[in-house]
Symmetry: C2
Subunit: 233 residues, 2 copies
Amino acid sequence: MTKPMYEGKAKQVFATENPDELLVYFKDDATAFNGEKRGTIGNKGVLNNKISTFFFNLLSEKGIPHHFIKMLSEREMLVKKLDILPVEVVVRNIAAGSLAKRIGWEEGRKLPSTVIELYYKDDNLGDPLINNYHIKALGLASPEQVETLEAYALKINEILSAFLKDKKLELIDFKLEFGVHKGEVLLGDEISPDTCRFWDSETGQKLDKDRFRRDLGNVEEAYQEVLRRITGQ
Amino acid sequence: MTKPMYEGKAKQVFATENPDELLVYFKDDATAFNGEKRGTIGNKGVLNNKISTFFFNLLSEKGIPHHFIKMLSEREMLVKKLDILPVEVVVRNIAAGSLAKRIGWEEGRKLPSTVIELYYKDDNLGDPLINNYHIKALGLASPEQVETLEAYALKINEILSAFLKDKKLELIDFKLEFGVHKGEVLLGDEISPDTCRFWDSETGQKLDKDRFRRDLGNVEEAYQEVLRRITGQ
Ligand SMILES: Nc1ncnc2c1ncn2[C@@H]1O[C@H](COP(=O)(O)OP(=O)(O)O)[C@@H](O)[C@H]1O
Ligand SMILES: Nc1ncnc2c1ncn2[C@@H]1O[C@H](COP(=O)(O)OP(=O)(O)O)[C@@H](O)[C@H]1O
Ligand SMILES: [Mg+2]
Ligand SMILES: [Mg+2]
């Protein structure tokens, strides 16, 4: 295969014959804490490709525009090429991770209202939290784009939370990336246990990348369990 | 004197015979980096009381509602009692301090547009940056109050920046606290070299608490110079 156009922490991105489309290859590599912790999760690439494919299809049905075109192989996905907006959108229903630390709440406490956080996508800076004034001053996105991101993020939260509840999974929080394709804002990247926190609704068991971050064991099994629950496979 | 109702890092707050009014006593104590660095700055209490008094009077003329009633002595100020909103409002014109770190800009670079940042006033948490969603979820202030804080903060920035420019001082950034008095949002706390960054317009010399934070020397002299320039004393 040719050299990737871009190699990220979890995926490689390749050009295709069509300049409007890219091929995304899902790796087993896992990183945490801004690259400080590194390792691999067996079969993660395959599982995240399948899980993301499932969620993008679900969002299609609900009218959320996204980059996903089709799965090409176990680890490969064909997507629309985006100019990625350097603003990561995090949606939170339950306090966990950095939010729990920031506001001094114990993990697992339900937030009285949904929290959206915007982070500047910049590995060198450690993806800092930012607000609309930072975005404007840095020219990261237009105010209209930020409005669109937040509206889609809230809609996606409703769709995913409701769907997952039926599968006995609690959607604690998740991170989205968006980009522009032919002037339109589309959801990009992936939706997987790498980018979401999923807790078993009954036992509270973590079924996501926190098992890797915190050395909880059974990481691959957790990703497998998410795929099993959402697809019934 | 009676025991203070509240003792902060830089001031003591005393009840008065009038339940709607408080006495604020300005100390020489200085802290930085969330209390990690401690010291005193000679005469700081006197200087900050005089500088704050001057700025509150300036803001009165321009129609900004605030807590200041009158100076009682060199170190004492009479103010309207506020229920302080636990949201610190930072306004920035030029990148410096934590913003320069957050976005990876060198200090002194002009921001293309004014940046407002909201911080959760909580010493134990280290006053973390927050956004409107955090404020709503934590119930720190109503959306209308946040709008008011931001509008006043921008207006105060215009007033102070224009005034200081004439005195050959650049207003780099500053922190405000607001509170509620009889249902109305008023500006509270202090406006001083402890809470603002002032740079000499020509030489770029720092005339504020960064001289203490960064051990630059001549700290008292810098505070004195700010008072001299703004009042002509
Ligand atoms: N449709 C798309 N078009 C262009 N770039 C994309 C698209 N979807 C995702 N990306 C980018 O490709 C990279 C995916 O690789 P990943 O390993 O997740 O990177 P990172 O280390 O930045 O998280 C990310 O930088 C992501 O923003
Ligand atoms: N008008 C007011 N009414 C009540 N509290 C006030 C008023 N103005 C300021 N304060 C509070 O008084 C304290 C001032 O003391 P300071 O030493 O600056 O405290 P801190 O250590 O919290 O910065 C702060 O907590 C501030 O919020
Ligand atoms: Mg990624
Ligand atoms: Mg203070």
